[in-house]
């Protein structure tokens, strides 16, 4: 089969796994976990036990040692069939304590000791590394079987690359689906579902191969049995086929232990279990799965020995048999089955070991460096735990790959598996003892696990990597059996002995009670003897509830205990009650953490910290929401305040306006009234009478103009002004304005400087209104220009967007900068009113007109004299009051 086809098949298969895991995670995120939580999915995920070692190695094992391979199936089967009630208890206790790994379980049982967890983690890491390497090697070996003709693939170099690519891919998969969230229960629906699917592939491939071997290669079951009988008499293997009770016992014990203690098994068996009820199904279904996986091992092994050349690797019979028979598709299926076995093991193992490494090595170290897990740092903690886990996954897979490269893949598959099994088995005595025996304590656990670890390192692990070499430990036994027997015995003895002679501290006693009875644990099991710790607890409670309420609670508790005063004994009842009441105020995990810290007791577990982090996060969000609401209120208040200020300012403006109008009306009225009274006197000369009547007429005209201006301004300001829009030649309007304005102070000889050609611009506007503005501006110049030889310059420009810009500039002294902004205000007459003759509304009206026309008028500073710029659009804006 071409190498490329194989790679493509692998890639397609991996893509399928990604898709399944992703879909399952999505479904779980949407809360649809019911089908994912099916007991069969759980059972199938347990098949991660059948790693590549079981898939490939069992056949090799059988061909080397006959029925001995069965022991690695028998151990788990016995555990599941015989001790399912024990498993239930394990799952129940673990879930109750939010246990995240086997190390966490042991540490939780023995006083939440993180050092113990760190030790277990160490064993797990050491044991897992060659085991992961073994999976990578199996993938590589299976590739080699097919790639007999690498055809430009670079031979074994390319195959070495295979292991790297597989490792990298697995690391990516594991990081993606193993560290998506940090829920306290540490479940991974995506991974578990993908593993369950792989379990089906594994089983299907193996059974298909078995069927092919029995009915395709041999002539049915009876022929097969004959061949097996003949093979067992083969002198080459007779030695290996002997049933050795000591070795069998050791293997069954170790594999039974492995189903409980291997990190990946603990992960799927305990951590990923939603509840203990699924063990009902798994109790029979998992042994059945193992039976199906083991059924065809011996036939395949026997046929392999018969048909394959003597130098063929028995570990690869499952592949070479169908391949040699030309069954390419079957071989491919088997290859994928093996691939499944290897990948699922690496993924789950990496998740489990990485959880341990991050929870028991990296996070405690980080917390120690950061001193106190103050609540502000909880955000950091979340991120840190996730990153630590990702890093640990990468490290676990990378270590496996390095080990694989370094070892050269020489060791038989089964041997590497047994090393891992026997290593993790060292945790078993403490674990089982902790569950069953109240007297077990931390010192005992240290002693047992420590001793077992040292012996395993010296007798099993180091020899397996070529350090020290085989040692004869016990006469008459093979080295591995002897090493296992010795290490486990010493382990158990140390554990029991030290536990009996050592006295557990109170925390442990309560944890022990909780584990052994597996009842609702005294979760807050702190029996602390020191009475003087009640004081800081009271201080803390006072800060949360207020002094009186706290004192009342403490006094009542003390009285209930029969004590006088206000400091009760720190009994578990009191602490639990206090924590419950505090939880109502500050959240359960925070209360737990605070009581722990103040009462000076137990180190927090990572899941405790995560809960604190969750609550801190929630509190922070709540605070932010409140803060936002407060800011909103403040903003509204500010707006109201501004509106009020505006109204006040408007009111002041209105008063000022009315005052000014009053002044402007009263002034002409005064002259009219005074002179009319004078006129009523009889004795006046005709000349005076004439003059006074003229003054009255003049002042009456002024009053009329004022009223007209006010009316005009009011209409313009309200936007109700009627504009008469037409096409206008700007030149005509300017000419009319200059002519009309010449009536103002006609005695002054004004030089008007115009640039006539540029004035011929067509605009659409209200000619009369524009004229009004221009007359006003030009008249103002005539009135106020103080030059000896007054000159007025009128310039018209056409801006790019159309319309017109008209500048009217005189050569007087202009308006000083402080008052330029005032001139467009109402009644802003700047100088002698006698000279102005108006009420000071002219420019205010001009501005309103220009705004109505869609343009503007502004004072143009820095032109020498007074200068105004009138800006006009090509046409007035829609809805500007035109008809």
């Amino acid at each position: 089969m071409p190498f490329e086809t194989l790679v493509l098949a692998c890639l397609a298969y991996v893509a399928l796994m990604f898709a399944v895991a992703y879909a399952a995670d999505r479904a779980a995120a949407r809360g649809r976990v019911r089908c994912l939580d099916h007991p069969l999915v759980y059972t199938l995920s347990l098949s991660v036990y059948c790693s590549a070692w079981t898939f490939y190695g069992a056949v090799g094992y059988a061909s080397r040692s006959g029925l001995e391979f069965l022991t690695i199936y028998l151990g788990p089967t016995i555990v599941f069939c015989g001790a399912w009630w024990g498993l239930r208890r394990l799952v129940r206790v673990a879930r109750m304590h939010h246990v995240t790994s086997v190390a966490d379980l042991v540490s939780a049982r023995f006083g939440k000791s993180n050092r113990l967890a760190a030790l277990v983690t160490l064993i797990a890491v050491i044991a897992a590394t060659p085991y992961v390497a073994l999976q990578l090697q199996s993938v590589r070996l299976s590739f080699e079987v097919f790639a007999t003709d690498p055809r430009g693939m670079g031979g074994s170099d390319a195959l070495g690359g295979t292991a790297l690519w597989v490792a990298a891919g697995l690391a990516v998969f594991t990081i993606l689906f193993g560290t998506r969230n940090l829920a306290a229960d540490e479940r991974h629906h995506g991974v578990v579902t993908a593993i369950a699917l792989e379990a089906v592939v594994k089983l299907a491939a193996f059974i298909a191969l078995g069927v092919f071997v029995i009915w395709g290669l041999a002539d049915g079951p009876s022929d097969m049995l004959d061949r097996i009988s003949r093979a067992s008499l083969d002198p080459r293997v007779a030695e290996g086929w002997l049933l050795r009770p000591d070795r069998w016992t050791a293997l069954i014990v170790i594999s039974g232990a492995a189903i409980l203690t291997l990190p990946r098994m603990f992960q799927v068996l305990v951590v990923e279990a939603a509840d203990e009820e699924r063990l009902h199904v798994a109790g029979w279904a998992f042994p059945a799965y193992l039976f199906a996986m083991s059924l065809f091992v011996l036939p395949i092994a026997v046929m392999g020995r018969e048909l394959m050349p003597a130098d063929a690797n028995p570990d690869l019979y499952v592949l070479t048999l169908p391949a040699a028979a030309g069954q390419d598709m079957l071989a491919l299926l088997v290859f994928l089955g093996g691939f499944s076995a290897a990948t699922s093991m690496v993924v789950v193992c990496a998740i489990a070991v990485a959880t341990m490494v991050s929870n028991h090595w990296l996070v405690p170290a980080w917390l120690a460096l950061r001193r106190i897990p103050a609540s502000e740092e909880m955000d950091d903690l979340r991120g840190f735990v996730l990153n630590a886990r990702r890093l640990a996954i990468l490290a676990v897979v990378a270590a496996g790959w390095v080990y694989h490269q370094a070892s050269g893949g020489a060791a038989a598959l089964a041997a590497m598996g047994l090393v891992a099994f026997s290593g993790m088995a060292q945790v078993l005595p403490a674990m089982v003892g902790g569950l069953l025996w109240r007297g077990a304590n931390r010192k005992g656990a240290y002693a047992g696990i420590g001793a077992g670890f040292v012996l395993w390192m010296g007798l099993v692990f180091l020899p397996s990597v070529g350090v020290g070499g085989d040692m004869t430990v016990l006469p008459g036994m093979d080295p591995w059996t002897a090493a296992v027997a010795l290490s486990l015995s010493v382990n158990t003895l140390a554990f029991v002995g030290v536990s009996i002679f050592g006295f557990p501290d109170p925390v442990e006693r309560f944890q022990g009670l909780s584990f052994v009875s597996a009842i609702e644990p005294l979760r807050h099991s702190r029996a602390r003897s020191a009475d003087d710790r009640a004081e800081p607890l009271l201080a803390m409670a006072r800060r949360i509830w207020g002094p009186d309420a706290a004192l009342r609670f403490f006094q009542a508790e003390a009285r209930a205990q029969g004590k006088s005063g206000y400091l009760p004994d720190l009994t578990p009842d009191f602490l639990t009650g206090l924590e419950r009441r505090l939880a109502g105020s500050i959240g359960a995990a925070t209360a737990h953490a605070m009581i722990d810290r103040v009462a000076g007791g137990v180190a927090l577990t990572v899941s405790d910290l995560l809960q604190v982090a969750d609550e801190a996060q929630r509190a922070k969000e709540e605070t932010q929401r409140l803060e936002a609401a407060r800011a909103e209120l403040a903003r509204t208040a500010r707006q109201l305040h501004q509106a009020n200020d505006k109204l006040t300012a408007l009111s002041v403006q209105k008063d000022a306006f009315l005052g000014q109008i009053s002044h402007e009306l009263r002034t002409p009225m005064t002259s009219v009234r005074a002179f009319s009274e004078i006129l009523m006197d009889a004795d006046l000369q005709d000349a005076d009478r004439q003059r006074f009547a003229g003054i009255i007429h003049q002042e009456a005209g002024r009053l009329t103009r004022l009223l007209d201006d006010l009316l005009d301004l009011s209409v313009l300001e309200s936007g109700r002004a009627q504009l008469t829009i037409s096409v206008v030649n700007l030149h005509d309007v300017i000419t009319r304005a200059v002519t009309a304005a010449s009536a103002t102070r006609p005695e002054r000889g004004f030089l008007i400087d115009r640039d006539l050609p540029s004035e011929h611009l067509g605009l659409i506007t209200d000619a009369d209104r524009l004229l009004q503005v221009l007359i006003n501006v030009i008249s103002n110049a005539r009135k106020y220009c103080d030059a000896d030889h007054p000159v007025m310059t009128i310039r018209v420009k056409r801006p790019q967007g159309g319309g017109a810009v008209i500048d009217v500039i005189d050569n007087g002294s202009g308006i000083d900068s402080g008052r330029q902004s005032l001139i467009f205000e109402k009644f802003a007459r700047l100088n002698d009113p006698a000279r102005a003759g108006g009420a000071g509304l002219g420019l205010a009206i001009c501005r309103e007109i220009m705004l109505n026309l869609g343009g503007d008028i502004a004072y143009l500073p820095g032109q020498g004299g007074a200068a105004f710029r009138i800006v006009l659009p090509q046409r007035p804006p829609v809805g500007s009051g035109s008809d």
Binding site: M669, T670, R673, A674
Partner: protein, 118 residues
């Protein structure tokens, strides 16, 4: 020494007041600007000052304050009749001896001035 000095920017009002008061036999001098008002007062040393509240450049209130603060005690004590076109009389005008609102009754004006000049 003049009888009366009137500081008023509205020429028609100034003309009316002068006509009314001169027919009573008083001499009325005129000044039309807040600027230079104090100098005019010092120059004319009137027995009565008629002061408009709204003046260009320097308001009647300011002119009055300047006058009352003048080191020449006799000048500072000049009786002042304040004219105002504002509806109400503000506090600043309280320094005046009399306040008369515009428009006013000619008879009122005559009576007040007569009273003030004794």
């Amino acid at each position: 020494m003049q009888d009366i000095l009137m500081i008023e920017d509205e020429v028609n009002i100034a003309e009316a007041v002068r006509f009314i008061l001169s027919r009573e036999g008083w001499q009325v001098a005129l000044h039309a600007d807040g600027a230079g008002a104090l100098e005019a007062i010092r120059h004319h040393r009137p027995r009565l000052l008629i002061l408009d509240l709204m003046l260009p450049n320097r308001s009647g209130t300011e002119v009055l304050a300047d006058l009352r603060a003048d080191p020449d005690a006799e000048l500072a004590a000049t009786p002042v009749l304040m004219l105002t076109a504002r509806g109400q009389v503000d506090d600043a005008a309280a320094q005046a001896d009399h306040v008369l609102s515009k428009p006013f009754d000619n008879a009122d004006l005559r009576a007040i001035v007569r009273g003030m000049l004794g």
